[in-house]
């Protein structure tokens, strides 16, 4: 299954949306909910179907200058791929 490409525009899949409270934000989907914190939440908040995967990665790489940029890319790719597998994210 394909990882996102730089030009991909990740977004929440049909029927998935944000819910919960500001302190405990969740993504609601048919079978349940995922609680999101930290970087995971930050990444998914960027997945608005407008920004490209390339832009999202660049921003994170600029923010976390201590981390290996290649690792950031690999981690976020995998994160989005897993969510796509669950039909929570599309790109």
């Amino acid at each position: 299954m394909a990882l996102p490409e730089d030009s991909s525009q990740p977004r929440l899949a049909a029927g998935c949306r944000w819910g919960g409270t500001e302190e405990a934000r969740v993504i609601l989907f048919p079978e349940g909910a995922i609680k999101l914190q930290g970087t995971g939440r930050q990444v998914l908040e960027q997945c608005d179907g407008q920004r490209t995967f390339g832009q999202i990665i660049q921003e994170l790489q600029a923010q976390f200058t201590d981390a290996d940029p290649a690792k950031i890319r690999a981690d976020i790719s995998q994160f989005l791929e897993q969510l796509r597998h669950k039909r929570i994210v599309d790109y």
Binding site: M1, A14, G15, G20, L28, A33, R87
Partner: protein, 377 residues
């Protein structure tokens, strides 16, 4: 404090245009005259939101049989709930679908009985199949989640691959392969529904192949039927741990079948709040936690995984709701399930799979070995 429930199962009516032989509704169905009013349901949904629940699953019977369904969906959304409609699709035309989506419907789970029309209609006891196909393309035009649910059993499981390919054409985001659970009507019809072991093994392979093939496009969810499993299912995620079910007449139950358990008194939303019932009712506390457990559950490592299995199944098969679920290979009463499996796997079984044939031929055959779900008064 007991953690809040996560989801509300709203059985808004027991009326249904289908008569599926595998229906897990209780044999004692609630009639129209006892159903909760719109205002009562709106109040329940508001309470559910305040209690911190995240999902409202509208089910039945057929929820579309309620003319106020759009209003109920809107009320659930207003209460902050994710809304899921579990439906046969009968009664859903484009205009009503549009209204439901505008009211905030998040997800439709549409059931199919088979890929073959005659067989599907035979299992449902109604001519519903062609319309469900039509409805699928309508649903896809809306921006909501779409799951196709397929209930499998002895009569259709032999062509599971064909059924999955059929569903793939309908292009949902999810396929749920649900093995029949033996409660209510399904338990009555068990001999005609319980698959053989070779059937099951072939089905497991078909599901695994489909998962791989459809990865990233269609999510495939499936659970091994508990009769053939080593350990029982974690029924409802544990009694009184995650879910509250409201039946059409307002009774609040820990699960679909709980009313079969003698000696339990269930509160009604007309008299008590959901919060009180969740926190304090004797029915929700009865099998919560581990205190009630007999051996071998009490000292078993699995007890935090499966919570001793299903209380209703224990009652239905052993006559004792506090027994270890007989589906468990360690249960003292496991021989009851083994006997059912032995019969299902015997060559003399009363109902060899017969899903091929015209609707009329199938119907004639059906009379001899299963009974259709009826409708409440």
């Amino acid at each position: 404090m007991i953690p809040n429930p996560l989801a509300l199962i709203a059985e808004v009516t027991h009326r249904c245009p289908l008569h599926c032989v595998y229906c897990s509704n209780p044999l004692q169905l609630a009639g129209l005259s006892s159903e909760l009013s719109t205002a009562e349901w709106v109040n329940i949904l508001q309470q559910a939101g305040k209690l911190g629940m995240l999902h409202a699953h509208f089910t039945g019977g057929e929820p579309l049989a309620r003319p106020d369904l759009t209003e109920l969906i809107a009320a659930a959304r207003a209460a902050g709930l994710y809304t899921n409609l579990i439906t046969s699709g009968i009664g859903l035309a484009e205009k009503r679908l549009q209204a439901l989506v505008e009211a905030g419907l998040d997800h439709i789970q549409l059931s199919f009985q088979d890929s073959r029309e005659d067989s599907a209609n035979w299992i449902a006891g109604a001519k519903a199949h062609a319309y469900k196909i039509e409805l699928s393309s309508m649903i896809r035009r809306h921006k909501i989640a779409f799951t196709v649910n397929l209930v499998v059993h002895r009569q259709n499981i032999d062509h599971l691959e064909e059924m999955i390919a059929f569903i793939e054409e309908l292009a949902p985001q999810r396929i749920e392969i649900a093995h029949t659970q033996y409660y209510g009507w399904a338990l009555q019809n068990r001999a005609a529904l319980l698959p053989t072991r070779p059937q099951l093994e072939k089905a497991v392979q078909a599901v695994e192949a489909a998962e791989k093939r459809l990865a990233g496009r269609i999510r495939v969810d499936s659970v091994v039927p508990d009769y053939y499993a080593r350990f029982p299912k974690a029924c409802m995620g544990g009694w009184g741990r995650r879910l509250m079910l409201i039946n059409p007449a307002g009774k609040v139950l820990p699960c679909h079948a709980a009313e079969v358990i003698p000696g339990l008194a269930f509160e009604n939303v007309r008299e008590q709040t959901l919060e009180f019932i969740w926190q304090q009712s004797s029915s929700f506390q009865r099998f919560r936690g581990e205190e009630w457990m007999p051996e071998p559950c009490r000292s078993c490592n699995q007890r935090a995984e499966d919570f001793g299995g299903c209380r209703c199944q224990a009652l239905l098969l052993t006559g004792n709701a506090t027994a270890t679920d007989p589906a468990c290979s360690l249960a003292p009463a496991h021989h009851i399930v083994e006997a059912a499996l032995a019969e299902a796997n015997s060559t003399a079984a009363i109902s060899q799979p017969i899903s091929a044939g015209s609707f009329v031929q199938l119907q004639q055959r059906a009379r001899s070995f299963w009974s259709y779900r009826t409708n409440p008064e």
